[in-house]
Structures are given as C-alpha cells and as structure tokens.
C-alpha cells in the first residue's frame, strides 16, 4: 500500500456540515485512481487533504509507510513528497518552462538537475520548449509542463485536480490517452479528480464515486460506470 486514508473527517470553517465524513481508502503502487463526483461532493477536498493543504479534524493519513497525519502529527505539504497538477496549472509566470520544472529539484544534486529536466521534458514531449515562458504556450502544452513539473522530483504520488477542464474537447481526448501512457510508462501512482465519466473511463484503473463527503461505490471503471 502506498497511500492510506483512515476514518478522515474534515469540514471547512464557517460550515456546519462535514465536507468529508469518516472517509477511508487505500491505493497500491502504480495504480491510477479516479475520484468521480458532482461539484460539492468533496472530491477535490480529498486531494487537498492528502497534499496537506488542509488539516483534517480526525483520522489518519499515511503515505509510503510514514504517518502524514494523526492526532500527534502533521507533516507540512513541502515535506510529503506529493506532486499535484492544478486545475489552472499554476505555472509560475515569471519562470521559463525549464525554471518551472527545476523548481522542485532542490533535494537532487545540481549536476543532476539538467539530466532530470531533459528526461521529463522528453517524457511529456516538449523538447525545444525549455526557454519559453508559460504564456507563450498553448493550453495543452501548459498542462504538460505542469505534469512534468509535478513528476520531476519523483513524488510517491501525483494528484490531478480536474486536469482536463481547461482544454477543448479534441485536445482533451488526445491528452488523456497520452497522459495514461506516460504515467504507466513511468509507473507513477496517481489520483484524478473529475466530474466527467468519460475521463474516468479512459484513464482509471479504479474509480471511486463520491457524494456528500461519502464514498458511494468503488471498483473498476466497467463495474461502476454503465
């Protein structure tokens, strides 16, 4: 098991009802999981909890065998070894593609930076774009930079928050197939959050269906989505 949530409860400030209620789930290494649900179901909150961007009220979170959260522990996001691709990509506009990708490589030796940059750039197929700034790229290219940036530090797990919602339809189909290929090739454990069944079917090994902070169903895409 690479990641485990146990009985996690969470609510945002100023809200009465719990956004996440007694949620438990686990993942195997290399698995691609999709969390599917309507907006307000709490699916994005799960990602934020795993990433450490929100603090649970109760429960336990472990990643790669170490405890990230329990009654005594809270590991800051920067120390969790989790990567994330944001809905709006959040590429640093004042840095080049190379700068963005190398941003997370602090733990590696300097000499290895360029090597790592070259290999992830190659993987996402953006060779020759290293010196460009984010605003000089198309939406699809930006998304691939965001992926490369998240992959570069070798995280235990990568989280995708509605990664396709900013792309037009043809691009969306093309990219999500590409993405699955890349992730499988690199053997990266990943969670996708989406509201689109087609996305889930195309990319996931396993699907979790969420509603009102609960897990409704879980299983293979074929089983859940009919």
């Amino acid at each position: 098991m690479i990641m485990q949530l146990h009985d996690v409860t969470f609510s945002y400030r100023n809200t009465k009802e719990k956004t996440i209620q007694h949620l438990s789930m686990e993942m195997e290494k290399g698995e691609i999981l999709t969390i599917l649900g309507q907006s307000g179901s709490g699916k994005s909150t799960v990602l934020r909890l795993i990433a450490g961007l929100e603090v649970p009220e109760a429960g336990m979170i472990t990643i790669n065998g170490s405890t990230m959260f329990d009654q005594k522990t809270f590991v800051q996001p920067e120390n969790r070894g989790v990567g994330m691709v944001f809905q709006d990509y959040a590429l640093f506009p004042h840095m080049t593609v190379a700068g963005n990708i190398k941003f997370g490589l602090k733990k590696m030796k300097r000499a290895e930076h360029d090597e790592r940059l070259a290999s992830v750039i190659e993987l996402v197929g953006l060779k020759g774009f290293e010196k460009r700034y984010p605003h000089e790229l198309s939406g699809g290219q930006q998304q691939r930079v965001a992926l490369a940036r998240a992959m570069a530090p070798n995280p235990s797990i990568i989280l995708f928050d509605e990664p396709f919602s900013n792309l037009d339809a043809d691009l969306q189909i093309k990219i999500r197939d590409e993405l699955r290929t890349i992730l499988k090739k690199a053997g990266i454990t990943s969670i996708f959050v989406t509201h689109d069944q087609a996305d889930a079917r195309a990319i996931a090994d396993r699907v979790i269906l969420m509603e009102n902070g609960h897990i409704l169903k879980t299983g293979t895409p074929d089983l859940i989505l009919c």
Binding site: V55, A58, Q71, Q76, G81, G83, P93, F103, P134, P153
Partner: protein
Amino acid sequence: MNVIRFIRLHVNSWSIMSIIFTLLILSPALSIFFQIFEKPNENWAHIQEFLLKNYIQNTLMIVFFTGLFSILIGVSLAWFVTAYRFPLRRFFKWGLILPLAIPPYIGAYTYHGIVNYTGVLQSTLRNEFNITANPAYFDIMNIPGAIFIFTIFLYPYVYIITRAYLEQQSASLIENARLLGSGPLELFFRVIMPISRTAIIGGASLVILEVLNDYGVVSYFGIQVITTAIFQAWFGMSDVASAIKLAGMLMAIVFLILFLEKVLRGRKQYSYSNAKVRPLEPISLSREKTILLFGYVMFIFTAGFLIPFVQLFQWMMMTYEKVVSPDFLQLIFNSVYVSLISAFIIMIIALVIGNFIRLSDSPWSKAVSRVTVLGYSIPGAVIAIGVLTFFLWLDRHLNTVYTALGIDAPIILSLGLGMLIFAYVSRFLAIGFNPVDAGFDKIGRSFTEASRLLGTSLMRTFFKVDLPMIRGAVFGGFTLVFIEVMKELPLTLLLQPFNFYTLSTKAFQYANDEAVHEAALASMLIILISGLSIFVFHAVLEKEKK
C-alpha cells in the same frame, strides 16, 4: 477544534509578525481613543449649536463632488489613454499622474496666487488690456474652489488604478460591445464604468480619505469642515474631549465609506489567468475627434500640472536669490531620506500582513487588514499627538529598564527621527498595503500551494514565487508612499527633531507667513523629486511588460 489544527491554521512567523506590527500601528490611535469616553462639556454644546451642522454639510459636499469629478476625470482619461490613439499618448500615460506630485495645499496657494488681484491673470487684464474684471469671477477661496483643487490634484489615484485595470481587460469584451452597436458614450457609461467598478471605487476611496483629513487647503481657503473643527476645539478651546469626539465622527464617516466600498466590491474574485488575453489595442479616430480628445487630455494636464508648475517656476525665479542657500541640499537629503526609509519599512510590513491575511482567512486576519487604514483616516496632527504620547510613555518605561540595568546613556526615542518615521508608517501603511493586498488577491493561492507541493517551505515560497509575482504592485506601493511622505506636512511639523527640516516644512514656513513666492523653490523641488519617481516607476513597469 484540536490544537494541531489551530496551530496549523493560525500560528506561524507571519501571523506573529502581523500581530506585532498591527499592535504597534494601532497604539498611537489607541492612546488617543482611550480619551473618547470623557463626558461632553460645555464646549461640546457650543460646537453642536453653532458649528456642527455647517461643518458636516460642507464636508459632505466637498467629499461628494470631489469624489464624483475625480471619478469622471480619472476614468475617462484612463479609458482614452488605453483605447484611442492621439498625439503624445505615450507621454500622457504617465504624465497624467504628475498632478499627484503637487501637494494640494501648494496647488491651492499657487492657484490663488494666479487668480487673485495681483496674480498674473487679473494684472495682465488690467495692465495690458485695461480691463478691470469683477474680482468675484476670480474668487477660488470657496467650496467650489476647494473641490476644483482637490479634484485636479487627486484624480490620479482613480486614473492609475483604473488604467492598470483596463489594460488587463480582454479586447474581445470591448469589441463585442462595439459590434452590438454601442456608441462611444454608451460604451463608456454602460460597459467601461461598470466593469471597472472595483478599480474606480478603490481609487475614489483614496481620494475621499485624502480630502477628509486635509487641513492645509481648507484652512487656507477658510472653509469650515470637520478637520478645521477638530483643530478649533483642540487648540482654540483647548478641549481635547470635543476634538476627539469630532475625530470620532470623522472616523465614522471613513468607516462608512470603507464599508460601502466593501459592499460595492461585492464578492468579486480576481484570478490570474495563464490563458492569453488579447490586450486592448488603441484605435485611431477621425481627425476632428482626435483633436477633441487631445484637447481634453491636454486641458486636464495643463490645469493639474502645467499651470501650477509654470507659475511656481516664475515665482522661483523671482525669489531665487533671496531664498536659495546651501541648506537646500540638506533639505533635499532629509526629505528623500525619510521618504525612502518610511516607504521601505511600510512595504515590508505590508508584505508581511498581506501574506498573513492571504494564508489564513480567519475573521481576525480580515480585521487586521482593516486596521491598516486607521492611521489614514484621522487627520495627521491627531495621529502625531498619539504617536508622541506613545513614545513618551515608551521612554518613561524604558528609563526604568535602563536604570535597573545600570545603563547610563539611554536612547531617548521621542527625540529622534525614529518617532517621525514611526508616525509616517502608522499613517501611510494603507497606501502601501492596498496595492500589495490587491496583488495577492490577484495571484490567489494556487501558486503558493504548487510551490509547497514541490518541496518549498512557506518562507522560501514567499521569496521565490509570491514576491516576484507581485513585485509590480510592491513597486507601485513604494512609489506612492514615497511621494506621500515627501508631501506630508502636519506630522512632520509636530514631530520633527531639532534642526530637522524637510522641503515640505520649508515650503510651509514661507507659505504660512503669506510669503507664497518665497515658498516656490521648496515646492518646486518636492514636485520635481516626486515627478521623477513617478517617471521611474512608469519606466520600470513598461520595461517589465515587454
């Protein structure tokens, strides 16, 4: 709520620094406001009966019309400069900010000097054309005159913020409106004004705050508003309690305005988009319209900058030999020195508080952001007394500490420049904080989150990601604070250390003695230095855009 959650949410170095800064800034205002609960005395009855109604009426009238005209002028100029081509457009882009370099009280005495009986206008008519016009036509020392002075020297606040906002708007929005058959007027009132609402309100509230706590212009023109009443009660009647009550009323008006701003701004959220927004390209107009447009822009620039500048220049030449001395180098140095230090400190504090508010969105962090404006909402002299009281208190207590430690030569805080700079910081924090706050608002939180998930701590993220992304806003805030301190008068007058003069106090020393011509040199230097900093600010921003 468990402890870890609380700590995670509320305690980090940012929050601690923010609280400390806030308390420090609040202290002078507090030391005044503890006196607010004193019982009204017979002076208060007198003030109520004979003065209050008139004072409030005048105040509201000036505030309302200055606000209205500043918006009309500021927004129209911002729109013309962004959307149309006309001669000297590149110059006017920053040239239209220049009136901000002229302190309104200097503008007031300059204009009075131009239009009064011995001024260039009437004397030319008299001597060259032998026309003796009715002097009443040239009277500007009244409420309309004050509205004119405030509008023409303060509209740049609206202009700067609105122009920056319009430049980020997508061209398609405007093009759409044009395709839907909007004429230019309709476009302006039905599209431009509504979409720039937030920016307009932000700029206008700065204008209104400046007007509300102005003392120089209204006292020179002899107009009775709440600030003059405060001074009359405090100094004329020696009645601190009544003065505080009036200051309290002024603050109530200020908070009402800020509240309205918040309501009007609504729940609008900015977001920083990576998507390419096609910027608005200026279009060319017909010949006649271009001339008309140029005429309007030139008129405002002339009234707000050229006329006072030329007049001051002429006076400067007239009195140059009498006034100039090597001391002026020291004056320039002093002015620039305190302005730079104050602006620097304010921007650091603004960044700390701004970042804290952004990271923790608890209600009391919102309260902190409101507090920053406190110093800007009270007349400068009132703040000054608060600061003085606070520092004297501090000195007394430090003295005990010194004695206990057996130290002989204590630092007397209330003597040094530190007190003056503290007062500037306390007063102008809002000016530096607003752009920083808006900057943080615009970038949102996802960049910070992305950075942290890439293994970067909060502090490092701040320096590597947040700061570079809002540096334009920081630079803008720095420039505004620099100019404000440069122009500042009442605080400086009250808290200056021995033998410490600035250009502003020098100009005042002459102007106060009705020696307006002699004040010109110091005034010119203030305007030149402020104008230069506006130009540098503009040049850096333009360069960054490329």
